[in-house]
Symmetry: C2
Subunit: 341 residues, 2 copies
DNA sequence: CTGTTAGCGCGTTCAC
DNA sequence: GTGAACGCGCTAACAG
């Protein structure tokens, strides 16, 4: 049986460093944390042996002792999501040059899984958690906030140790629809998101409101439900066409569905924007490169991530935090044009 | 002096649970870990009070005591990357239902930053780290592997506590180029990646080899360097057109550049595939929805992530691990066609 | 300025 | 089966 004796790497610890440098552990700790003044010579000796052993303090032990982990949990929905990915980047950027680092976990739009992940984060004693939308209830969030700072996106909620950022999807969808109406479109199809998704409903409301604003009648058959995915967008176009309702424009409740719709239209030999104008929602990085470049509503996701992280830092510091909702913006590119008569 | 008495949330710990349940801390621990048999009644009492207090053991303390953190560091390049995102998903999936969870950090293709992140992971005492390509040197990796298990992608390397997965980019690029040649193309432009990127060079080699295989002359002006980004692809098309060299096909060293190239071609009124055939590399999720759907070389990134995580689990268990490179696959869609005479 | 002492919340011997 | 005692590596409070 092989023993560890051969490779006997005697776990380089703070105590080892102290011994080697001829000082006490406290002194090493003080140097590491800048907690107190230390004479130049001892500091030098310590720093040298730290370098010599390539010592890196054990974050677990430090956390245990300090009651703080310097990690911020981030509950996203899909780690590979092009949409939330931008928010993660914003969070990373905001945390750079702070002692905190993010711990990303995915909830997959599944309540049970989100709860499990919150439990995991709780076990890891994160100093706070940023919840990127998802299905956790308001009361649950309020409850979590009793024990640690929470920042949540995609809804409005506030309280002690709780901040939120939300964008006005109703207004965004209304503006996108208005854009189409101003171009002369009167029969505008809407590809909707899942009915149990909060954002989806707000966008549908905006679509309807824009019609009301313009005194335009709503055609129920022109509103088709889908799932926020590309394939859903494809299917929706098929359904729309089969309904034999005329329409000159399509507003998809998110860009991914717009991508699918775009392809389905192409398959039916319908040109965009010559035959059909197409509008998306989100402005994913790829939308600039769609053919033609997609007109869409830009969600400032990166900015939201950044603001959420900054707010979290304030909450952790014991301050209160309000986050001003960054504005949505209609980005008019080339997938929309004036309706042909 | 004011005490915490008012808000006195007396930190629910294992000891608290033990006291409330009328047993010793050891017993609670045993139940938590299934370390030993415990009488049914005590077990019940403990489980109830755990539920009552919603107790979640402190992972830091546990790690300290056990010398294991049950977390696997994952060094990716950009957390928001659509390419590596698939690998992250594969890792998540492979780790589900194991006691391990991933800790994602980004290196941004920057050696210094990757080193800093490795240091961070070391401080967090992760049980192993999966390195998704990046710029760390082979010797560095071998060195890290002296202290903890390492799995690295994008290169071939092995040793104790070290495993790697790599795909054969040379072969992939060769096959893609051959596909074009078989369609009758003889003047094929190549949009290359950064010269200091290992994958980029392999793909260039494959492009060249395919020409040699077919006895086709290489036209130096037809190879233009870019940066693996969409804008690089756009710029490259501009440069190609200005060179006044004829070409009937474009092979972009990755899909992102193919997207940019697609748009640039559209701007110049060049049709794909009627005027120009276009091939990418990677098969990003979006490539199915490009107009027209992009012919590309599918990289099994999700699978790579999964295999990497599984290998890591074996390494942690003290076993050795070999990872069979999953095969690349040319996905022929609609952006390529037989050359017109 | 610096060393000593006492935990932080767990897992783990070792006795009972 | 079960409890008491010790230690994981570090920070903090207390003396000097």
């Amino acid at each position: 049986m092989l023993t560890d004796a051969d490779t006997a790497a005697p776990a380089v610890t703070l105590e080892l460093i102290a011994r080697e440098a001829g000082v006490s552990p406290s002194t090493v700790s003080r140097i590491l944390n800048g907690t107190a003044k230390v004479s130049a010579d001892k500091r030098l000796a310590v720093e040298q042996t730290i370098a010599r052993f390539n010592f890196q303090p054990n974050a677990m032990a430090r956390s245990l002792a300090k009651g703080q982990t310097y990690t911020i949990g981030v509950l996203t929905q899909f780690i590979e999501s092009p949409f939330y990915g931008e928010a993660l980047r914003g969070i990373e950027d905001a945390l750079r040059r702070t002692p905190y680092s993010p711990l990303f976990v995915s909830g997959h739009w599944n309540l049970a899984e989100e709860e499990a992940k919150m439990r995991l984060l709780q076990g890891r004693r994160v100093d706070g958690v940023i919840v990127l939308t998802g299905r956790l209830g308001d009361e649950q969030l309020l409850d979590y906030a009793q024990r640690l700072p929470i920042v949540v996106t995609g809804r409005q909620l506030s309280g002690p140790r709780l901040a939120s950022v939300d964008v006005d999807d109703f207004e965004g969808a209304r503006e996108a629809t208005r854009h189409l109406i101003e171009l002369g479109h009167t029969r505008i199809a809407f590809i909707s998101g899942p009915a149990d998704h909060p954002d989806a409903n707000e966008r549908l409301r905006g679509y309807r409101q824009a019609h009301a604003d313009a005194g335009l009648a709503l055609v129920p058959e022109l509103v088709v439900p889908a799932d926020f995915m590309e394939t859903g967008g494809m299917l929706a176009i098929g359904q729309l066409l089969e309904s034999r309702q005329n329409f000159t424009a399509v507003f998809a409740a998110n860009d991914q569905m717009a991508y699918g719709a775009r392809l389905a239209l192409y398959r039916r030999n319908l040109r965009v924007p010559d035959d059909i104008s197409l509008v998306g929602y989100d402005d994913l990085p790829n939308s600039t490169y769609l053919m033609p470049p997609l007109t869409t509503v830009r969600q400032p996701v990166y900015e939201i991530g950044r603001l959420a992280a900054q707010a979290m830092l304030k909450l952790i510091a014991g301050e209160s935090a309000e986050i001003a909702a960054p504005p949505l913006e209609l980005v008019v590119r080339e997938s929309t044009r004036r309706v042909r008569h």
